[in-house]
């Protein structure tokens, strides 16, 4: 548990009779010596410095405007949640090790090596209180992509064994079993079969040659298995030659979220290899935000050359199919508002796709105030939803999202990200909130015209 209320901060030093404030918790993995942890952190900070990150880290004006864009700061007024402050250690490492004047910073000791205490303190800032939503990147007058830098800074934290335990365990499970929730190939097959029966839909599995490789996120497989059926219905309706593969079905990438580039690459390569194996021309990513970032924009860089196939988010696929007339939907008589997954819309550039789909559904679409690219994050992205100790803070932040949604007075709330959905569901339960988030894909699947 962490004190997050900047307006009523507790004086931690003062003696109190009955109440002892809890210490800020930080987790430690492994049994490295302190010095080794610091070295590891520095090493994996330094590894990220290239001309692009360098210009960003050198360009900050300390104007503090990113604080006004960050939901964690807006809701708590805690200055530590200023996005650029979360990068202070990363910046410190850059100025000391790789900046143009690094020699002088070292010579005169202007920038010291980071310390273990700093790293421990920053764990909360780099993980619990950043969803890598990138809203701050849009307010920065220098155009610094702060969110991108946070992802990189996490590399040092992971390698130093200083990340939130739940996130570490989830990422580790993903690396070991291929799924953050421990879903094995067999279990996936079971779920697919179950859904095929339940929804009376044909779901191709492990086809040797197919044009389209569809993948899923473990959250969907576990919590929202109807997504499997919905995906199948849509791809079938479009008349695609497609398949799921047991050797490459997991779209989530907890290696990326936790800050382990090795694991990130492993997870990405599984999908790439599976697609190449079946000669796929397209991978359709599920309703998952960070999967889009991991494969669509970072996949080729992990692969080291351009991918031999296209990558689409399911919302992009649906929009394309609807626009081209490959599938048709019935008009739906309801009012809808749409929550943009940060990694798909703001950072991924597919903002328009979901709106195209919604237009085809003919619903009364109510855009949130400053929706789309400036949308407030669900609060659970970037792995935050897995961090138990961050729940109170996440709930607090969710208030912004609730206000944004409620203002639209729409009947239904949709999104296209299972991770968003999960954190919405959790917060809905916490607040006993009226809105239950639905899936855009599900609405399309349920309203497909039989004759395409």
């Amino acid at each position: 548990m962490t004190t997050v209320d900047g307006r009523h901060t507790l004086d931690r030093e003062a003696e109190r009779l009955a109440y002892k404030p809890p210490e800020v918790r930080h987790d430690i993995q492994g049994d490295m010596e302190t010095e080794e942890r610091v070295e590891k952190a520095m090493h994996h900070f330094v590894k990220n410095f290239n001309s692009q990150t360098a210009s960003y880290l050198d360009g900050c004006l300390h104007c503090g405007m990113c604080a006004d864009a960050c939901h964690f700061h807006v809701r708590t007024d805690d200055p530590r949640y200023t996005p650029i402050w979360k990068l202070e250690l990363f910046k410190q490492a850059y100025k000391r090790e790789a900046g143009p004047f690094a020699f002088f910073y070292r010579l005169f000791g202007f920038k010291k090596k980071v310390t273990i205490d700093q790293l421990e303190e920053w764990q909360h800032l780099l993980y619990d209180s950043c969803t890598v939503c990138g809203r701050c990147s849009l307010v920065c007058p220098m155009g610094i992509d702060i969110a991108g830098l946070v992802s990189m800074a996490r590399h040092g934290m992971f390698m130093a064994g200083l990340i939130p335990h739940e996130l570490h365990e989830t990422a580790k499970r993903a690396a070991e079993t291929g799924s953050p929730l421990g879903i094995t190939a067999d279990k996936f097959e079971d779920r697919v079969e179950w859904m095929a029966d339940e929804h009376e839909v044909e779901i191709p599995m492990d086809v040797e040659q197919a044009d389209v490789l569809a993948v899923m996120s473990s959250i969907e497989i576990q919590k929202y298995p109807q997504s499997i059926a919905a995906t199948a219905k849509i791809l079938n309706a479009a008349g695609e030659s497609w398949t799921f593969r047991t050797d490459g079905f997991e779209a989530t990438n907890f290696g990326m979220l936790s800050g382990n580039p090795g694991w990130q690459k492993e997870a990405t390569m599984k999908l790439i290899n599976a697609a190449i194996k079946i000669g796929a021309k397209l991978i359709v990513l599920p309703e998952c935000g960070h999967a889009y970032m991991a494969l669509r924009w970072m996949g080729a860089n992990m692969y080291g050359k351009p991918l031999p196939f296209k990558v689409m988010h399911i919302s992009e696929y649906m929009a394309d199919a609807l626009n081209k007339g490959k599938i048709k939907v019935k008009k739906v008589d309801t009012s809808v508002t749409y929550h943009d997954p940060c990694q798909v819309s703001r950072r991924g550039g597919a903002t328009q796709a979901a709106r195209d789909v919604i237009r085809h559904l003919g619903v009364d679409f109510r855009e949130m105030e400053y929706g789309g690219d400036y949308n407030w994050c669900c609060g659970g992205g970037g792995g935050v939803v897995t961090i138990k100790r961050a729940d109170p803070l996440r709930h607090r932040v969710f208030k912004l999202k609730m206000d944004q949604v409620e203002k639209t007075e729409a009947d239904e709330l949709l999104s296209s990200c299972a991770n968003c959905r999960q954190s919405f569901d959790d917060s809905q339960e916490h607040f006993n909130w009226d809105y239950k988030m639905g899936s855009l894909m599900k609405m399309v699947a349920e309203n497909l015209e039989d004759e395409a």
Binding site: Q52, S55, P79, I84, G143, A300
Partner: protein, 217 residues
């Protein structure tokens, strides 16, 4: 050699050498670090035009942030525009630039310039007060922020004192003014005032990265 001769001669010369060398040092030092490879299939052509686009568009605040950042943005605009007017539209300064550029441009009446200078200083003071009181800015500020503020405001102040005089001899004031400019020139490449040239790099980079994704820039 009196103070003015020193200011106009060696001081300005050394400052100019340091300015040129420092700017290139920082730029080359950043840009010659390893390249970040980019193999993903672009949604839109990025490239140079995207860089230019964001260099331009980031000069304005996106609608959702307008209310929250109105005050500092307004001050920053006043500071920047005032400062630019003073530097580039005050006729003696234009003559100064003409001295090494070889061409000139129309200036503004001095009263307008004095007003711009005063506005810039007032905005600068307000920004300093904000930096000293706002919890966020208090936390993230360091020596660079305060020193850069000082060397930016100093030339405007020393310039504004000149018509007022206050009993000090003109050539002394002019020498002090030029020396303060020299200090600004010397510091500019190294601290956060480097944003005068880095702004093109950072905005341009973001333009190229995000525009090719088709994402919001």
């Amino acid at each position: 050699m009196d103070l003015l001769d020193f200011a106009r001669g060696p001081a300005l010369q050394v400052a100019a050498y340091i300015l040129v060398a420092g700017v290139l040092w920082r730029l080359v030092g950043i840009l010659m670090l390893k390249e970040k490879p980019e193999f993903s299939e672009p949604r839109k052509p990025g490239g140079f035009m995207a860089a230019l686009k964001v260099i331009y568009t980031r000069s304005f605040t996106a609608a959702p942030f307008k209310r929250a950042t109105l005050y500092p943005k307004m001050l920053a605009y006043v500071l920047h525009i005032g400062f630019f007017a003073v530097i580039f539209l005050f006729v003696p300064h234009i003559v100064f630039f003409e001295g090494f550029l070889g061409f000139d441009w129309p200036g503004l009446p001095n009263n307008v310039i004095y007003l711009s200078g005063v506005a810039a200083v007032v905005a600068g003071l307000a920004l300093l007060v904000r930096r000293l009181t706002d919890p966020v800015l208090k936390l993230i500020s360091n020596f660079d922020d305060y020193f850069s503020w000082f060397v930016t405001i100093l030339p405007i102040l020393t310039g504004l004192i000149m018509p007022v005089r206050m009993g000090v001899r003109y050539e002394t004031l002019l020498a002090i003014h030029i020396l303060s400019v020299a200090v600004l020139m010397i510091w500019l490449p190294f601290g956060k005032l480097g944003h005068t040239f880095l702004v093109f790099v950072t905005r341009g980079t973001t333009g190229m990265v995000f525009e090719r994704r088709g994402a919001k820039t």
